[in-house]
């Protein structure tokens, strides 16, 4: 689904052989960014909504800015569109400084979360509005409006007023209205939030196809990590006005930079521990919560010092659950094994989620695909189970 879905290791390897058309332009130091944000800061009185943010977005990307409400993502969107002026720093679009450029002159268009269709104009008039303001000749306007309405499959409703459209239809019109101006950058504010589940999935893929077809750079602002993961070439996770991590969806999921990201993106079992030994990039740490030692891999990061406190995260799907004992016990041989009791069980059809209580009282979450078709559960409540994981699956995070 994702066009640039590569793990960190292969991606780093690819960075060395630069081609003319780079599939991952952010790895190419010579690539010119479509959007460049430099030290961008926005203050409202005492509160800092965006705090010295730096970001490069490349042509043709479908870039997501992901954050909870109040993270500053909406302010960033408004800064990009030009509705707000930065307190410090600058925004460059296609190499041109946009700081002093008003919204009506920026090569940027936005699809609002509320869609913001003009209720007193027909679908056609809504879409034509931007071109009229640009003083495009009438014949051309009709041509382009007709074309874009066909692209979003809304041609048959061209004469309708927005009030008579469904949510999905309104969204298409809003998209057409923003795209018809052929912006260098299209901003989408929570594009799928107002749609129901079935329509969301459909629209997600349509958005991706459309983006691919038109080659316009999309920047999506969302609080929905699933939406961001599926849509994006890259994601910037925002928290307290800063970017906590910028990377491909898989980088962010599999190689979170810090505890916030590990916790915010997906589910993670987080264990606090103290480093007791370091050998060949494998860090051994004692966790009081578990009353046991754990091994973890340091991947592309600084090896923590002896005695320092770290967080070790293990994703639920990386943990293997079984009633029979795996080959080895304890930590070692590249696998970590613990015994525990099933304290909770959630059956989702395709997968099951277990809450396993270890001897120390710590509860870990484990998820497992239900690969075998059976009405009986292989692991039941109160079962004594073994849980194990590959030490390469652990995520080592500094405190």
């Amino acid at each position: 689904m994702k066009k640039h879905d590569k793990s960190l290791m292969t991606a780093t390897a690819q960075a060395s052989n630069q081609g003319a058309v780079h599939p991952e332009p952010w790895l190419n130091p010579d690539a010119r960014p479509m959007v460049e944000i430099r030290g961008l800061t926005k203050r409202y009185g005492d509160t800092v909504a965006v705090n010295r943010a730096d970001l490069k977005i490349y042509k043709g990307e479908l870039f997501s800015i992901l954050g909870a409400s109040g993270s500053g993502k909406s302010t960033l969107l408004r800064l990009l569109a030009g509705f707000e002026a930065p307190s410090e720093g600058s925004i460059l679009i296609d190499g041109v400084d946009m700081t002093a450029v008003p919204p009506y002159e920026r090569p940027v268009n936005i699809m609002f979360q509320s869609y913001a269709l003009f209720p007193h104009m027909t679908v056609e008039q809504n879409v034509a509005y931007g071109l009229k303001k640009e003083r495009v000749p009438g014949a051309q306007i009709r041509q382009r409006v007709g074309d874009i309405l066909e692209t979003v499959k809304m041609g048959h409703l061209a004469k309708r007023k927005p009030g008579t459209l469904s949510g999905g239809e309104s969204q298409r019109v809003a998209l057409a209205r923003a795209l018809v101006k052929q912006p260098k950058l299209l901003l989408l504010d929570e594009p799928l939030a107002a749609l129901d589940k079935k329509l969301r999935e459909h629209t997600q893929f349509e958005l991706m196809n459309l983006q691919d077809e038109l080659g316009i750079t999309f920047v999506v602002v969302t609080h929905d990590q699933e939406e961001a993961m599926i849509l994006s070439t890259r994601i910037a996770v925002m928290n307290h006005g800063r970017f906590e991590q910028i990377g491909t969806p898989s980088e962010i999921y599999e190689y979170p930079k810090n505890r916030f990201i590990a916790d915010f993106i997906g589910k993670a079992n987080l264990l606090q521990a103290e480093v007791t030994a370091v050998k060949n990039g494998i860090v051994t740490a004692f966790s009081e919560e578990l009353g046991a030692e754990l091994d973890a891999c340091a991947v592309g990061q600084q090896v923590p010092a002896m005695g320092s406190r770290v967080w070790i995260a293990v994703r639920p799907e990386k943990i293997f659950i079984s009633k029979e004992s795996p080959a080895e016990q304890g930590s070692g041989g590249g696998r970590t094994v613990f015994r525990g009791t099933v304290e909770g069980l959630g059956y989702f059809g395709n997968l099951s989620i277990y809450r396993v209580e270890l001897a120390s009282g710590k509860i870990l979450q484990v998820s497992a695909q239900n690969r075998v078709r059976t009405a009986r559960k292989t692991v039941e409540w109160d079962d004594q189970v073994f849980i194990s994981w590959d030490i390469r699956s652990t995520i080592l995070l500094e405190v």
Partner: protein, 310 residues
């Protein structure tokens, strides 16, 4: 909604009562007086009590004849004086309405863009004058505008003028009085409308290439049309029949229906002609009301077609 309520029998009774009451009210205090006025407008004046001929002449055996005349209406059309009065009233009311709109729109827009706390404070400021009697407020203007009133004295003291300005007993004073008195009726419906306006629409228009003034004329103004119409009617209708303001602030050459009515009733004691003037005035007022009703019904139908999304 109504159909659903009708299911319960007790509820139905209450609903009927609730529906009947306003009709009863209108019947008693609007339709009945109107019928009486209309009846009088069809009579001849008479020096008697009451000062007009009876509709039905009661003879010894039952009724004798019904007496109806259109003379009063014909008189209104023949005597140019009334045509001039109607026209000048309409002109005065229309200009006052326009002035209220030009003044009230920016005020309403400004208030609607404030924080909710400041909004309420400003609205209170708009409504506050209503706590003082209308008559008193108009009287106060006399003190301000008089030849030796506050404004003239102040300007003389400043040395900006050496002769008092003629600020009162002319059309200027009437316009001032009407605009002052009716401005809140323009601001309030406009505010109610502008306050609901989705600011995303402004951003959307700006994003699509509209400058601020274009955003206003393309989006804000057309969407505030219902507020404009409501405000204009609320000002125009009372202004056209206004009596107190032209009587207190106007000059002898200020021609308004309200004054003509007063003169016919109490000076000429020609009740039939006065009644005819009233009926014609009512017609002039009912027509724009009907137009407004129609416009309102259309926007309502439009809102309904939107499926309650709004």
């Amino acid at each position: 909604m109504i159909r659903r309520l009708q299911r319960g029998d007790g509820r139905r009774q209450w609903l009927r009562m609730a529906l009947v009451l306003p009709y009863l009210w209108l019947l008693l205090f609007f339709l009945a007086p109107f019928i009486i006025i209309f009846k009088i407008s069809l009579a001849d004046p008479l020096v008697a009590v009451p000062p007009f001929t009876a509709l039905i002449d009661w003879a010894a055996q039952g009724w004798d004849r019904i007496y109806v005349t259109l003379d009063n209406y014909l008189f209104l059309f023949e005597d140019r004086y009334y045509g001039v009065i109607f026209l000048s009233s309409i002109k005065l009311a229309a200009i006052s309405t326009m002035l209220c709109l030009l003044l009230g729109y920016p005020i309403a827009y400004f208030i609607a863009r404030q924080t909710p706390r400041r909004r309420n404070l400003l609205l209170l400021g708009i409504i506050l004058p209503f706590w003082i009697s209308f008559l008193l407020r108009v009287y106060a203007w006399i003190g301000l505008l008089n030849t030796h009133g506050v404004i003239n004295n102040f300007l003389l003291w400043l040395g900006l003028i050496d002769q008092p300005l003629a600020l009162i007993y002319n059309d200027f004073a009437v316009y001032l009085g009407i605009v002052y008195s009716y401005l809140p009726f323009m601001i309030l419906p406009l505010y109610a409308n502008l306050e609901k306006l989705d600011l995303d629409l402004h951003d959307a228009a700006a994003d699509l290439g509209a400058r601020n003034w274009q955003v206003f004329f393309d989006v804000t103004l057309p969407l505030s049309l219902p507020g404009i119409i409501a405000g204009c009617l609320l000002v125009f209708i009372p202004a056209i029949g206004e009596f107190i303001i032209p009587a207190l602030l106007g000059g002898s050459d200020t021609l308004m229906i309200g004054r003509a009515l007063w003169d016919e009733f109490f000076i000429n004691r020609d009740w039939p002609v006065a009644s005819a003037v009233s009926v014609v005035l009512l017609l002039i007022l009912v027509l724009p009301m009907m137009w407004f009703q129609k416009a309102q019904a259309q926007t309502d139908a439009g809102a309904e077609a939107q499926g309650g999304v709004v």
